[in-house]
C-alpha cells in the first residue's frame, strides 16, 4: 500500500533524530500552559492515550500488514484489569498508581498470547474476519458477566489511592494525570519506534511486503505475526490502563466494535505508511470529535466525507502528504509549487463553505423545523426557506469548482517537472 518517494534518510542520522525527540518532549511539557481549562486537559489526556493505542494498532497494520478489526479487545481488557487493580490499591494493596498502565499492558499482552495464537494462524482477509468475530464475542460477553465487567454501569474507581508519588502527586487534579499520560506517551512512542529498528521489527516489515519469501530466509511468518501481536497487545493494554485512570470508569464501550472502527479510521487518516502517521490521526480525532461535534449536529457527515475523500485521493494519509513534499523541499524548489498549493487550499475552502451552508440548512429544515426557519450562521441569521441562500451556495460551489480545476492543473504540471528533474539528477 505504501508507494511514493525514495527511502528518506536523515543525514546525519543521530542529530536529526535527537532534535525530533527532544522537540517532542518539550512540546508535551509545555502544552498545558496553553490549554489549562479542565476539559481541555482531559481531552489532551484522551488524545495521548489514543496516540499510544493507534501506534500499537499501526504496529500491526502499518508495520506487519495485519488488518485487525477488533483491536479494542486488547485495550479494553487491559483497562478492565487496570481498574480492578486500582480498586485493589484503594483497599490497601501496595502498588503505585503511576505504574498502573503496566498492569493494563500485561493484561493486553496476556490476551495477545491467548487470542493471538488463534488469529495469527491466518493472514490477510481471514485474519481481519477472525478479529471481527472475536471482537463481537468479547463485547457480547462483557455484558453477560457483571462480576468482572461490572454490567452496564461498568467498573468505576477512584484514582486517588495508595501512597502519593514522591509525597505530593495524588493524581487527583487533572494536570497530574496529564503529565502521567505525557510520560507514558513518550516512553511508549520511543519504545515502539525503537521496535521498528530491531530484528523482529524489520522482519515484520518483510512479512508485510512478502510473507512467502520470509519463509525461505529462515523465519516462520506465523510466529513473527504472533510475537508482533503480543507486543502490540501490550502497548494497547497500556493505553487502556491510562484511559482507566483518566476516566476512572471502564464500561463495555471500551471493548466495543465502535472503538476498533475508530482506531482503524483515524490511523488511516493519519497515515499508515509512516510511523508518526497515527499520532497525526489522534490529533485530528480530537479536532473532529471535539470542536466540530459541538458546532454542528452534522459532524458525522463531514467526517464521513473527509474520510472517503482521503481514501480515494490520498490513501497514504496526511503523513504521506507531508513526506511527499520532502524531496522537493530538499531540492529547494518548494517555492515553485507553493502558489498552486495555495490555490488548491482556496478552492478547498470555498467548496467546503458551500457544502457546510448546504448541509446546515438541510439539517435545520429536517430536524429543527419546529424552531422556525431562521438559522444563525456565525452571527447573522439566514432565512433558510427563501431562495437567496441556496443561490449563494450554488455560486460558491461554482467558484470552488473552477478554482479546483485550475489548482489541480497547476500542481500536476509543477509536480511532474520538479520530480522529473530530481529523478534525472539522481540517475545521472
Amino acid at each position: 500500500m505504501a508507494q511514493g518517494a525514495q527511502k528518506i534518510v536523515f543525514r546525519p542520522l543521530n542529530l536529526a533524530r535527537c532534535i525530533i525527540w527532544s522537540g517532542f518532549a518539550l512540546l508535551l511539557l509545555v502544552l498545558p500552559l496553553f490549554f489549562n481549562k479542565g476539559f481541555a486537559l482531559t481531552l489532551m489526556c484522551q488524545i495521548g492515550t489514543i496516540m499510544i493505542f493507534s501506534l500499537s494498532f499501526n504496529m500491526l497494520l502499518g508495520q506487519s500488514g495485519m488488518l485487525s478489526l477488533g483491536h479494542a479487545v486488547y485495550s479494553g481488557l487491559g483497562a478492565y484489569f487496570a481498574i480492578h487493580m486500582l480498586n485493589l490499591i484503594g483497599k490497601g494493596w501496595l502498588f503505585p498508581v503511576s505504574l498502573l498502565p503496566l498492569v493494563g499492558g500485561l493484561a493486553g499482552a496476556l490476551f495477545g498470547v491467548l487470542f493471538g495464537y488463534v488469529t495469527t494462524k491466518k493472514s490477510g482477509t481471514p485474519f481481519a474476519m477472525i478479529t471481527l468475530g472475536i471482537g463481537e464475542l468479547v463485547f457480547a460477553m462483557s455484558l453477560m458477566f457483571p462480576e468482572f465487567f461490572g454490567g452496564e454501569g461498568g467498573v468505576s474507581s477512584n484514582r486517588i489511592a495508595g501512597e502519593p508519588l514522591f509525597g505530593f502527586i495524588t493524581f487527583g487534579p487533572q494536570i497530574q494525570v496529564y503529565y502521567l499520560v505525557a510520560v507514558w506517551l513518550f516512553i511508549c512512542t520511543a519504545a515502539m519506534y525503537a521496535f521498528t529498528h530491531t530484528p523482529l521489527g524489520r522482519i515484520a516489515n518483510a512479512v508485510r511486503d512478502n510473507p512467502e519469501r520470509v519463509e525461505f530466509i529462515g523465519y516462520e511468518t506465523q510466529r513473527v505475526r504472533y510475537l508482533v501481536l503480543i507486543i502490540s497487545g501490550f502497548f494497547a493494554g497500556i493505553a487502556g490502563g491510562l484511559g482507566a485512570i483518566n476516566f476512572e470508569i471502564v464500561s463495555s464501550e471500551n471493548v466495543s466494535a465502535i472503538r476498533s472502527g475508530t482506531v482503524l479510521l483515524f490511523t488511516f487518516i493519519g497515515g499508515v505508511p509512516f510511523f508518526f502517521g497515527p499520532m497525526i490521526g489522534a490529533v485530528i480525532f480530537g479536532f473532529f470529535i471535539v470542536v466540530l461535534a459541538t458546532i454542528t449536529k452534522a459532524w458525522l457527515l463531514y467526517l464521513g466525507l473527509f474520510f472517503v475523500m482521503m481514501v480515494m485521493y490520498c490513501p497514504g494519509g496526511i503523513a504521506t502528504l507531508i513526506m511527499m513534499q520532502f524531496p522537493i523541499v530538499k531540492a529547494g524548489r518548494f517555492r515553485e509549487i507553493f502558489p498552486s498549493y495555495c490555490l488548491a487550499v482556496a478552492a478547498g475552502l470555498t467548496l467546503l463553505a458551500a457544502l457546510v451552508f448546504a448541509v446546515e440548512m438541510i439539517y435545520h429544515l429536517s430536524l429543527e423545523a419546529a424552531a422556525g426557519t431562521t438559522k444563525a450562521f456565525f452571527g447573522y441569521d439566514v432565512e433558510v426557506a427563501s431562495a437567496t441562500p441556496w443561490l449563494g451556495v450554488a455560486l460558491l460551489s461554482g467558484i470552488g469548482a473552477v478554482l479546483f480545476v485550475a489548482a489541480r492543473r497547476g500542481i500536476s504540471t509543477h509536480w511532474d517537472r520538479i520530480m522529473g528533474d530530481i529523478i534525472r539528477s539522481q540517475t545521472a
Binding site: 529498528h197 530491531t198 530484528p199 530466509i217
Partner: protein
C-alpha cells in the same frame, strides 16, 4: 575450466529417491532419482511443463512429496516446512522476482542474514548495533554489485538489478545448497553474462542446483546436467555427453545439438 569432475565418493549434498508428485489425478513428477555431490554445480533443463519448478518446490518444502524421499546431507526433509529446510542450509531463489519491495536494497539483504547469525526473533537488540550483520550485508552488496543502490527502495530497481538482488538474498544466509530458478530469465545477452559471472563468484565451494533455459548459461556453469521431460529424468551426465545424447536431442532439443541453440 569445467572439465568433467570425477564422481567424488563423499555423501551426496542433495539426494532425491524415487520422488513422485501428483496434483489430484495428474502426476507431474513420475519417479525422479538424483544425487548431487557437495560443491557440484548441477543444472536441470527440460521443455516447458516438464515439472522443473515443481521439483524445486518439492525440494524447498513448498509442496510435500506424494511418495519417495528427499535427503539434505543425508537428512530426510519429509514434512518439513520451508523455514525448517532453510535453517538446515538450503536456500532458493524464485523465477518471478520475490523481494521486499518497500524495504531498501540493504535491508533486503540484511533481513536474509539475521536468522543465520542467531538474531532470530529478538526485539531487544538495535539493528544499528549488529556489526556482523551490517558488515555481512555490505559484503553481499559489494558481491552483487548493488553498492551504489544501497538505500534505494527495492521496488524501484531495474529488472536486472532486482534479479541480482534476488540472488543476493538467496546466498546471503550462507546456505550450503543453493537452488536458483531461472536466474537469467528475461535478461539481455550482456546482463546474462554478468549474471553468470556473479553466480560463479557467489557459489564458490557451495552446491548449486539451477533450472535454466539459456543453453550458453548452462554449458558455461554446470558440472553436470539432468534433463527432465514429462516428470522423468531421461539423462544425467556431464555437458559433453548430454550434448551428444540422442534421446535428449530427440526428446528435447529437436534440432541436432551441434548448431547450438543461441
Amino acid at each position: 575450466m569445467n572439465a568433467p569432475a570425477p564422481m567424488p565418493v563423499i555423501a551426496a549434498a542433495l539426494e532425491l529417491r524415487a520422488v513422485r508428485k501428483s496434483f489430484g489425478v495428474t502426476e507431474i513428477i513420475r519417479g525422479v532419482d538424483l544425487a548431487i555431490t557437495k560443491g557440484e554445480r548441477h543444472a536441470v533443463i527440460g521443455p516447458n511443463g516438464a515439472g522443473k519448478s515443481t521439483l524445486f518446490n518439492l525440494i524447498s518444502g513448498r509442496f510435500g512429496v506424494s511418495t519417495g524421499a528427499i535427503l539434505l546431507n543425508g537428512g530426510d526433509l519429509a514434512g518439513l516446512k520451508p523455514f525448517e529446510i532453510n535453517r538446515k542450509g538450503l536456500a532458493r531463489s524464485f523465477q518471478i522476482t520475490n523481494i521486499f519491495a518497500n524495504l531498501s536494497v540493504f535491508e533486503n539483504i540484511r533481513c536474509a542474514v539475521l536468522y543465520p547469525l542467531g538474531y532470530k526473533y529478538s526485539f531487544w537488540k538495535a539493528l544499528s548495533t549488529l556489526k556482523d550483520a551490517n558488515l555481512r550485508a555490505d559484503e553481499i552488496l559489494e558481491l552483487i554489485g548493488l553498492k551504489k543502490r544501497r538505500d534505494v527502495k527495492a521496488g524501484l530497481l531495474t529488472y536486472a538489478e532486482q534479479r541480482a538482488l534476488e540472488i543476493g538474498i538467496t546466498i546471503a544466509g550462507g546456505a550450503e545448497v543453493i537452488l536458483l530458478d531461472e536466474p537469467t530469465a528475461g535478461m539481455s545477452r550482456s546482463e546474462s553474462d554478468q549474471a553468470v559471472e556473479l553466480i560463479r563468484k557467489v557459489t564458490v565451494g557451495k552446491t548449486l542446483v539451477m533450472v535454466e533455459h539459456d543453453m550458453s548459461v548452462v554449458f558455461s556453469l554446470a558440472d553436470r546436467i539432468s534433463v527432465l521431460v514429462y516428470g522423468e529424468v531421461i539423462a544425467t551426465d556431464v555437458p559433453e555427453k548430454i550434448r551428444g545424447n540422442a534421446a535428449v536431442q530427440e526428446a528435447y532439443l529437436g534440432t541436432s545439438l551441434a548448431e547450438g541453440a543461441h
